[in-house]
Subunit: 881 residues, 2 copies
Amino acid sequence: MSDNAKYVYFFGGREAEGDASMKELLGGKGANLAEMSRLGLPVPGGFTITTEVCALYYENNRNYPEGLDAQVDECVAKLEALSGKTFGRGSNPLLLSVRSGAAVSMPGMMDTVLNLGLNDETLPALAKETNNERFALDAYRRFLQMFGDVVLGLSHHQFEEVLQDVKERHHASNDAELTVEGLKDVIEAYKDVYSRNNTSFPQDARAQLQAAIDAVFGSWNNPRAITYRQLNSIRGLKGTAVNVQAMVFGNMGDTSGTGVAFTRNPSDGTNEFYGEYLMNAQGEDVVAGIRTPQPITHLEEVNKECFDELVELRSKLENHYTDMQDLEFTIEQGKLYLLQTRRGKRTAAAAVQIAVDMMNEGLISEEEAVLRVDPLQLDQLLHPTFDQDAEDNAHFLTQGLPASPGAATGQIVFSAADAEQWSSQGKDVVLVRIETSPEDIGGMSAANGILTSRGGMTSHAAVVARGMGKCCVAGCSQAQIDYRNKTITFGGVTLNEGDWISLNGSKGKVYNEKIATVDPQLTGPFGTIMALADKYRKLGVRTNADSPHDTRVAVRFGAEGIGLCRTEHMFFEGERIISVRKMILAEDTEERKAALNELLPYQREDFIGIFKALDGKPATIRFLDPPLHEFLPHDEEGQVEMAKAMGTSVQHIQDIVASLREFNPMLGHRGCRLGIFFPEITEMQARAVIEAAYAVPGSRPEIMIPLVGHVRELAHQKNLVLSVYEQIQAEQGKPLDDLKIGTMIEVPRGAITADQVATEAEFFSFGTNDLTQMGCGFSRDDSGRFLQHYVEQGIYPEDPFQVLDREGVGELLKIGVQKGRQTRPGMKTGICGEHGGEPSSIEFCHMVGLDYVSCSPYRVPIARLAAAQAAIREEYGSLTK
Amino acid sequence: MSDNAKYVYFFGGREAEGDASMKELLGGKGANLAEMSRLGLPVPGGFTITTEVCALYYENNRNYPEGLDAQVDECVAKLEALSGKTFGRGSNPLLLSVRSGAAVSMPGMMDTVLNLGLNDETLPALAKETNNERFALDAYRRFLQMFGDVVLGLSHHQFEEVLQDVKERHHASNDAELTVEGLKDVIEAYKDVYSRNNTSFPQDARAQLQAAIDAVFGSWNNPRAITYRQLNSIRGLKGTAVNVQAMVFGNMGDTSGTGVAFTRNPSDGTNEFYGEYLMNAQGEDVVAGIRTPQPITHLEEVNKECFDELVELRSKLENHYTDMQDLEFTIEQGKLYLLQTRRGKRTAAAAVQIAVDMMNEGLISEEEAVLRVDPLQLDQLLHPTFDQDAEDNAHFLTQGLPASPGAATGQIVFSAADAEQWSSQGKDVVLVRIETSPEDIGGMSAANGILTSRGGMTSHAAVVARGMGKCCVAGCSQAQIDYRNKTITFGGVTLNEGDWISLNGSKGKVYNEKIATVDPQLTGPFGTIMALADKYRKLGVRTNADSPHDTRVAVRFGAEGIGLCRTEHMFFEGERIISVRKMILAEDTEERKAALNELLPYQREDFIGIFKALDGKPATIRFLDPPLHEFLPHDEEGQVEMAKAMGTSVQHIQDIVASLREFNPMLGHRGCRLGIFFPEITEMQARAVIEAAYAVPGSRPEIMIPLVGHVRELAHQKNLVLSVYEQIQAEQGKPLDDLKIGTMIEVPRGAITADQVATEAEFFSFGTNDLTQMGCGFSRDDSGRFLQHYVEQGIYPEDPFQVLDREGVGELLKIGVQKGRQTRPGMKTGICGEHGGEPSSIEFCHMVGLDYVSCSPYRVPIARLAAAQAAIREEYGSLTK
C-alpha cells in the first residue's frame, strides 16, 4: 500500500471523513461516530484508525504501515485545534479515550483506555481547570491502573492490593472516602508497581497513545476474542478499528453538567421530552443517587442555550433515527456534547403508543410501526396486573420463578378439589401445591393463580398455567407446605387455608395480602397494532385449546381456529377419570368398549361446546396421545382410593401400574400406537367428534392422529375413523359440512417419509416439542440440567425447547413440508408445539411456508405480531438466518 | 376383444403353449407349469385360463368373454386324449384340480378345488380302477365338502358337524377310522347339507368345472385378498389366472406309487440322488409314517424304467435350474409324473458344499456360488455343536428361547463370581441366572454357556451372549432358580451347583448331562465360499469387540478391524467398578480426577491388548456412552455393599441413585453429554487410548465421540482429545503413526446436519440402534409388545431393530452419508449397530456406499458373505428395494 493510503479518518466539529456506510473499514463504532458528526450532532471530536491497519499490522509481523504515525499526529493536532486544548501539556489538557471497534460487535472482548494524556504535568492543569483536585487525582490514578493493566499487561491484582493498602492506612472504607492525600499516596504506590515490574509509566502523551493503539490492535487476537469469534461464527473480518476520541467533563465547574434523556416518555410513550440532569457532575453522579438530579425541563432556566440545543437535538435525532432515543449528554464549560444516543428501552405500553404515534406523525410507515413492538413484550399487556402503587406498598413475602405472567389475588387452598369447590362458591382462590400433576387441571383452572414450592419454568404447573394464561409462581423453594395442617410457611410467616395471598407471575413475587388488579386494555393503540399485524401477516394464527372457555378467550385474542385440541385433558375432569380407569383395567375388548361408551357422551359434549365457541372456525382435534399409565395414580393413597372406587384390590392396581411402567415412556406405548392396539378408543373418539359436528352445523373438525412415523399407522387409524363416519352418515342421511383427517408430524421418521404419509394425510401439524425431543435426543423432563450447561457453553445458542432449532429440528420440518406437498400440492401445514408462540420460531415457520402457527390463547396476539414482522422482514430482506 | 382371442393355454405331453416369460398373462404357477412341460418334464397335463379373462370378467359385470367356453372344452378334450381318461364319465375318469395363480404369489388368499369330476357315476369307476373303494369314497366326500365350502359358499361348520356326527355313530375317533360304510353315510349326509341350503351338488362335471372357475375368479376380489394386496403393496395386476390340471394317483395298484427326492443330499450336500418312495400310495402316506418308505435307489429293482427316467430327470432338472431340487413324483399305472419341483431346502453345510461343487462342476459361476448360501444360515457353522447322536440320546430337560446359537456343556454355577473362579481352575461351567446384568459380564465371558429363566431374545443375557458368540438359552420360564440353596428345578428334577448340564443355543434346548461337542470347521468348502465372498464384496467388514479375546476371535473370522469398541464394558470388570463408583460419587473435579486416575492404567492396558490383537488394523473406540446410573447398584443389597466399600451411608448411595434417575434415560444425560459435563472423563479416556497407541507401534486408533447431535459437541470433545494428544506428543517427542477423531451418527439431528458435523469429524459410524430408537420413536426396551403387533398388522414389514428400516432410518443414514461427504469428500463411513450383521441391512449399507459394516465377532463371516451378495446383486441389477 502506498504512503498516500488513508489510514485514519477524522470526525468532529459536526463533520466527518467517514460515514455510516463504512462499517467494514471503520468498525461499527467508528462509522457511527462519523455519521453522528456528519449529521451535525455535537459529538466530541476524534478519529478512527481503520481495520485495514489492523490487518496490515498482523500481516507485517506487528509492524504498522509507513505514514500511519503522521496521519495520527495530524488528527491529534486537528483535535487540539477543535477543542482549544493541548495534548499532554499546557493549562487546558486534551484527554483522550482509546477504544476498539470491529465491524461486528464483540462486547467486552477487547480493550479500552480512558483519560489518556494525563501525566505529572497535565495533572495540576486539570485540577485547576476543573477546580477539583480530587477529581483530577482520581482520574490520574484510574488512568495509571488501566494503562498498567490493559496496555502493559501488569496483573491488576497488584494495583488492587496497593489500593487496599492505602485505603487501610487512610481508614477509608471505600474508594470515595479517599482524600486528596490518600489519592496522592495511591498514585505514588501505583508508580512503584510499574518499577517493581521493571517498567515505567510513560510521561509522554504521544507514547501513551501509541502504546494504547498497540494494545487495542493486540487485543484482536487475544485468546478470549478468538474463542468469542469461533463460538459466534464471526468470520471474514479484517480486524478491529481503533477509535480515539476527546474526553469531555461535566464537572469543570458550574457551567458544566451532565444528563440523560429520552426523546419520549419510555414508561407510557407520551410524546414529551423526558429526562434529568445535574450541574457540575459526571455521568456516574446522575445515577449514584447522592445528589438529586433535576427534571430536564428545568435546564431551560439554568442554561437556555444548551436546553434549546437539546430540544433541537431531540427532534433531529427522532427525525434521523425515526425512533425514540435514549441520549447521554455533557455540558463542558457551557458547551453541549452528545456522548451517546441509542434506541431507548421502553415498556410494552410505551412501545405500542410510540409506534402508533410515530406512524400517525408520518415519521414511520405502517410496516415500521409493526416492527417496532417486541412481540414477547406484548405479554405484559394481556394479563391482569397489579395497581402499581398498591403492589409497591404491599407486604412482600418471597420470590419464586416467574412461571406464568400476570397478577392474581385470592384465598389460599391446598388442593385442586378445594379450589374447584371454593371457586364454585364465588370465592377468589390461589391454589398452593408442592407440585401439580395432571389430576389438578380442574383446580388450576378454577384458581386465580398457582403457587408451587417445587419445579422449574417447564414444570407441569408452569406449562399448564402458561397454556391457561393463568398467573403462576413456581419453584418457591423457601416455602414449606404442610398439606396435613393446611399451612404454608415462609421463613417466620405461616399462612393458613383461607388467608389472602397475591402473586405477581411476571416477576415471581409473592405478597402477604389482597392487592387490587387492573384488567388489560385490548383496544386503543394496542388494537391499532394488532389490526396492522393482521393486515401484513401471511401466517394464520390458531390456538391450542382444550375447552370452550379457553377457546373463547383465544378467539377474543384473534385466534382463527384451534390448532391443537388435546383430548386427553378432557379425560381427567370429574367423573370421567373413573371411566378412563375402567377402560385401562378392562380385561377384554367388551369391557373396554363398555367403559369407552361411558366416556362418549362427555367427549361429545366437550366437542359440541368447542365447535359452538369456534362458530365455524376449524378445529384440529388430536386423538389420545399420552401413555395410559398417566391416567393412573402413582402414589399409594391414590391407588387405595382407586381400588375402592373400582371394587378391586390395591395389589391389582399396583400390578397394572407396574405392567404399564416403561423405561422410556416418551418412546413407548402412546400416540397412535394406543389406537392401533385398542381400535375401540379411536372409534369412540371418532364418534364423539363426528356426532358433535353433526350437532353443530358448520363445524369444521380436523381429526389429527398423533405420533405417526409410518404411513400405514395413519392408514390404519384413518380407516377406523372413516368407517365410523360411514355408520353415522348412514344414520344421519347426509354428509358432514367438512371433515379432514391428518396427522401430527412429531416423529423424525414421519418427517423423513412425509411424501408417503401425505398419501393419507389431508394436513400436517408439526409437533415440534416431540420432534425436538426425538430429533435432538433430548428428554424434555431430564435435559434441563445439561441443556443449561450447553447454552452456557455456546453449544446451542438457545434452549431448543424454547426457540426452534432451525438447523436441526427446523430442517426436519422443512423436509416434512417439502415432501408432503410434493405428494399433495398445497397441503395445509401448521405447527402446534410451544414454538408456535415464540417469535423467532414463528419467523422460521413463515420462511418455510407453513399455513399457520398455533399457540396457547394468551400467546395469540404475540403470534399475530411476530407473523406480521416475519412477513415484513421478508419483504425488506432482513429475515434472521 | 375378438372371438379369435386366445384365453386358454394348454400344457402337457412334454410341450406347452405358454412359457416362463408369460407370468403376467398366465400367473406365476401357470407360466411355470408351461415351462416345465415345454422342458419335456412329465407334468400332468392341464391348461391355464389367463389373467386377462379375470380382468374382462370384472369389467363386464362378472360375464366371461365369448369364446372362452369353447376354448375350455377344447382343452378338456385334449386332456382326455392325452391321459386316456374321460371327464365326468367312463371307466377311467379324468379328475381335475382347479387352482388360482396371480403373477405375484398370494399364498392362501384364493381358492383351490381338488378331485373335480367325481360324481355318482365316476365314483364306482374310480373305486374299481384304483381297486380301493375306501380311497374313492374319501376322495368324493372331500370333493363334496370342498366344493360346497369353496364354490358354493356353504359354511364349513355344517360339513364338520355332519362328519363329527357320523364318526360318533360309527365309533370312529378320527377320519382314518371311518369305514367304507361310514364314508357312504358321510356322503349322503353331505348331500343333505346341500339340500338344507336349498341347493344341490351338480352331477355334471362340466358344470362343476365352470362353477370352480367362477369361484377362483370370484376369490380375486374377496376382502381377504384385497387386504392382502393392500398390505403388501401389490398393485397393477390384471387379476388371477385359473390353472386346471389332471389329477394323478399313486394308489391305483401295484404299478403305481409316489415319492419325494432331492437331487443331492440336503443334509451334507453330497452329490447323490437322495429320497424315498412308497408303491401303491398317495403323497400323504409317505410322510404319515404308517408304512415305511424305501430309499429311492431301491426303485431301480421295482421299476427300472421309472427309476432311469427319474435319474434322467434329476440331471435335467439340475442342468436347467442349476440348483439342487426337491421333487415330488407319482407313478400312475407305470407312468411317471412330476408333480412339483422346487429349490431344495438344505442345511448350511449342504448349502456350502453344493455351491462349491456346482461351481467346480461348471454348473454355476463364482458369483452364483456366493449367492447360493444364505448368510444367516452360516451361523450354524460357526459355533461348537453337539455330536448329533449324542444329543439325540441325551436326557432332555426343558425348552427355552434359542437366544444365542451354539452348544455348551459344563457344571452349573449360580453367580458370575463363581463362574470366573471355577473357570480359572480349569473347569467347564454353565452360568445359571434368573436374569443377567452388566455386572455379570466377566462371569458370562468365563462360562461356556448361559441359561436364564427370565428375559426374551433381546434381554441383556441374549444380546451380550450373541455379542460374545456364547451359547445362551434364555427365558426358560419352567425353571425355578433358588440362589440361596443353589438349585435349579425343572418340574420334578432339581439340579445343584456342580451338576453337569448342556445347552443347545440354536434350538433353546436344555439337557441333563454332559454332551460331547464338535468344533466348527472353517476350512474346506466354507473357506472357499469365504474367499469368494472377499473377492466380490466391496464393503469392509469390521467387528464390535471390547476385549483382546473377542478381537482375536473376530480377526480369525476375517474382521478387518474394530468398528465399535465400547469402553464402558471395561468399566465393570473386577476392581474397576469401585473406581468408577468413586468417580460418580466425587464431590468435586479433583476427587473425580483422582478416581479417573485409578482407572487410567486399566483402560490403557485394555487398549494395549486390543491394539496388539489387531496387529495394525484400525480400531474405532467409542468413549463413555451410558448414563452414569448404570454403574450403580439398583437393588438394596448392592447398595449396602457399595456403601460399605465406599465408606459412606446407604442413604447417600440411594440419594445419588435417585438424583441420577431419569424419566427417559435413552434421551438423557449420556454420550458426549457426559464428556462435555465432565471433561476429565474424556481426558482420561483420550490419555488411555493415546498412550496405548504409543506403546504399540503401528496402532490405528479412531476415537469416536458418541451421541453427537450438534457439530459443536464434537468440536468441544475433539479439542479436549487434541490437547491431551499435544501433551503426550510433547512427552513422547514424535507424533502417532495414525489417529483419527470422528463421531457416531445416532441422533437424527446428527444425520440431518451431517454437513456441519463433517467439518470436525474425520469419520462417521452410524449407530443404527439408537438412530432407530430416536428416528422411529421406539424405545427398544419398551416397544417389544406393540412392535410385535405392528409386524403382525403389516405396519412395519419387520422389526426395525432387527432389519434396518430402509425408508425411514435408512433415509436418515443416506442423508448423513451424502451431507457428510459433501463437506468431506471420500470420508470413511461405517455402521456399528446390530444391523451391521444382518444381511438385508448390509445390502442397504452397500447400496448407500458405506465403507464398512461392523458386527459381533460371530457375525463377521455372515457379513462378509452378505456384503459379497449385495455387490453381486448390484452387478446383476437385482438388489432388493
